[in-house]
C-alpha cells in the first residue's frame, strides 16, 4: 500500500470498488481477507477524518461565535 496522502473521496471510492468486487464474486478467497482488511483500513481512515473534521468545524464555529 502506497503511503501517499489519502483523500477521503478516493478512500470511499476504493471501498465502493471493493464492495462491488466482492458482491460480483470477483474476489478469490485468497484475496478476500486482504481486501476486507484494506476496506476496513479505508473505512477507519474515513471515520477518523470525519470525526476530526467535525471537531475542527465545531471548534471554528465556537471560536467565531464567542468572538462576537
Amino acid at each position: 500500500m502506497t503511503k501517499k496522502a489519502l483523500k477521503y473521496n478516493e478512500a470511499i471510492a476504493e471501498v465502493e470498488k471493493i464492495i462491488s468486487e466482492i458482491e460480483d464474486n470477483e474476489t478469490d478467497l485468497d484475496e478476500l481477507a486482504s481486501k476486507l482488511k484494506r476496506a476496513a483500513e479505508l473505512l477507519n481512515f474515513c471515520k477518523a477524518k470525519l470525526r476530526s473534521t467535525e471537531e475542527e468545524i465545531q471548534k471554528i464555529i465556537e471560536d467565531f461565535q464567542t468572538d462576537q
Partner: protein, 458 residues
C-alpha cells in the same frame, strides 16, 4: 413775527394724536415682517416691523410695535403652539394692531392679536420653495442614496453637549441589551435660534475633514422647546445635509411636520432615543443575520457529516454481509468435499473391515479352508463331467433342429399343394398389393406360372 398763531411741539403732537385717535380709531389687520424682536424683563415685547420690496428686498416701510405683557403672555404660547415656531426675526406675521401716537414716543403700533394661520402658510410656502430648489439642484435624494454600513460603529454626532437629547442618545446606546460597543464623537453645535444653521453647517465641515473616521452622522436636538426649528427648514442646512457623503440620521425631536433637513436626511426619526435605537437595530440585524448564516453553515456541515457517516456505516455493513456470504459459500463447498471425502473414508473403512474379517476368518478357521478345498474338489469333479454332457446335449439339439428344418423347407410345403406368388420380386401376402393387369409369378413344386390379374377383391 408774533407768537400768535404759533403752537408748541407738544400742542402739535397732541393734535396729531387727536387726529389719529379720531381717524384711525379702529384696529387693522396688518401683514409685516419682524425685523427685530426683544422681550423685556417686564414681560413686554418690543418689535420692529418692516415691509420689504418683493424684488429688491429693500425696506420700504417701518414701524415700532409693542405687545404689552398681559397680551404677550397669551399670544406667545398660542402662536408657538399653532406654528411650531417662535416669533423670530425674518418671520412674516399677520397682526391686529391699533395705531398709537404718543406725544413723546411718537408713532407705534399696539399689537392686540396675531393670526398664526398666516405664518403657517408663509412657513409652508417657504418650505415648498426650499424643497423645490433642492429637487431642482438634484440633491434632494442624494443622502438617501448613500449606503449605510451594516454596522455603523463609528458615530459622529452633532448636538449640544448638555442637551437632554444628546444624553438620551448616549444612554440609550450604552445601555443596549446586546453589549454592542460604539465609538461616539461629539461635534458640539448650537441647535436652535439664528446661529444654529451656521453652527451645524460648520460641524458638518469638521466631520467632512476626517470623514474616513466615521460611518454615520447623527444630528440630534436636545429636548427643550418644540419651537425654533426653523433653521432645519433652511435651504443651506438642508442642502449640506443632502449632499453629505456619509448617511445622516436626524433625531430633531418635533411633533409637527418634519423639517426639510429631516426630509433630505438618509433616515429621520422622531427622537434622539429613536436614533440610538435605529443604530442598535442595525447592529442587531447584522448580528441576527450572522447568527442565521452560522446556523445554516452548521446544519449544512452536520448534514454532510451525517451523510458521510451513514455511508461509512452502510459500507461497513455491506462489507461484513458480502464477505460473510462469500466465506460461507466457500465453507459450504468445502463441507461438500469433506462430506464426500468422509464417505470415501467410510467405504475404505468398511472394506478394510471386511477384509480384516475375512482374514480373521481365514486365520481363525483352518476348518473353513478344508471346506473350501472340498468344495473346490467337488467343483473340479463337476467340471470333469461337463464335456460329455455338453456333447450329448448338442447332438440331441442338432437332430431336433434338422428335423424341424426339413419340416419348414418351402419345397415340402409346395409338395403339399401350397404355392407362393411374387410380383416384382415381392411375395404377395395381401390382395391389396396388386391391381388389375399386374403380372404375377406363381411358384409351384415343379415350376413357375406367369399370369395377369383379371380382378381383385377383398
Amino acid at each position: 413775527m408774533s407768537v400768535e398763531g404759533k403752537i408748541t411741539l407738544l400742542e402739535l403732537n397732541n393734535l396729531v394724536k387727536e387726529s389719529i385717535n379720531q381717524n384711525l380709531s379702529t384696529s387693522y389687520w396688518v401683514i409685516a415682517e419682524i425685523a427685530e424682536i426683544k422681550e423685556h424683563s417686564s414681560g413686554h415685547c418690543y418689535l420692529e416691523l418692516v415691509y420689504k420690496d418683493k424684488e429688491t428686498e429693500n425696506i420700504k416701510a417701518k414701524a415700532r410695535a409693542t405687545i404689552w405683557n398681559y397680551t404677550y403672555r397669551m399670544l406667545k404660547p398660542y402662536f408657538e403652539t399653532a406654528t411650531g415656531q417662535s416669533l423670530v426675526n425674518g418671520l412674516t406675521i399677520l397682526v391686529n394692531v391699533q395705531v398709537v401716537f404718543h406725544e413723546f414716543f411718537g408713532y407705534s403700533l399696539n399689537i392686540l392679536d396675531i393670526d398664526p394661520t398666516y405664518t403657517i402658510g408663509e412657513i409652508e410656502l417657504r418650505r415648498r420653495e426650499t424643497i423645490n430648489k433642492l429637487i431642482a439642484d438634484g440633491v434632494y435624494e442624494m443622502n438617501k442614496e448613500v449606503e449605510i454600513d451594516d454596522v455603523p460603529k463609528r458615530i459622529a454626532i452633532i448636538s449640544s453637549e448638555n442637551a437632554a437629547g444628546y444624553q438620551d442618545f448616549r444612554k440609550q446606546l450604552s445601555n443596549n441589551p446586546y453589549g454592542y460597543v460604539f465609538s461616539v464623537t461629539l461635534f458640539p453645535a448650537i441647535m436652535q435660534g439664528d446661529e444654529a444653521e451656521n453652527s451645524i453647517i460648520n460641524q458638518l465641515g469638521n466631520i467632512y475633514s476626517q470623514i474616513n473616521n466615521f460611518d454615520v452622522v447623527i444630528i440630534v436636538r436636545g429636548g427643550g422647546s418644540q419651537t425654533d426649528l426653523s433653521c432645519f427648514d433652511s435651504y443651506e442646512l438642508a442642502s449640506n445635509v443632502a449632499q453629505f457623503p456619509l448617511p445622516v440620521i436626524t433625531g430633531i425631536g418635533h411633533d409637527k411636520d418634519t423639517s426639510v433637513t429631516d426630509m433630505v436626511a438618509h433616515t429621520s426619526v422622531k427622537t434622539p432615543t429613536a436614533a440610538a435605537e435605529f443604530i442598535i437595530a442595525r447592529f442587531n440585524d447584522a448580528d441576527t443575520e450572522l447568527y442565521q448564516v452560522t446556523e445554516k453553515i452548521s446544519s449544512i456541515i452536520k448534514n454532510l457529516l451525517d451523510e458521510n457517516l451513514s455511508t461509512i456505516q452502510k459500507y461497513s455493513q455491506l462489507l461484513v454481509l458480502h464477505s460473510t456470504k462469500e466465506i460461507s459459500k466457500y465453507k459450504l463447498t468445502l463441507n461438500t468435499f469433506v462430506h464426500r471425502a468422509s464417505k470415501a473414508d467410510l467405504i475404505i473403512l468398511y472394506n478394510s473391515n471386511k477384509l480384516s474379517n475375512l482374514g480373521n476368518a481365514l486365520k481363525k478357521t483352518p476348518y473353513g479352508l478344508k471346506i473350501l478345498k472340498r468344495n473346490l474338489e467337488l467343483e473340479i469333479e463337476k467340471l470333469k463331467t461337463i464335456p460329455n454332457r455338453l456333447i450329448k446335449t448338442e447332438k440331441n439339439k442338432v437332430e431336433f433342429l434338422s428335423r424341424t428344418s426339413e419340416h419348414l423347407d418351402p419345397k415340402n410345403i409346395l409338395h403339399r399343394g401350397y404355392s407362393m406368388t411374387y410380383s416384382n420380386n415381392e411375395i404377395i401376402k395381401s390382395s391389396k398389393q396388386v391391381k388389375k393387369n399386374d403380372v404375377i409369378t406363381t411358384i409351384l413344386s415343379d415350376g413357375t406360372v406367369s399370369s395377369i390379374i383379371n380382378k381383385t377383391s377383398n
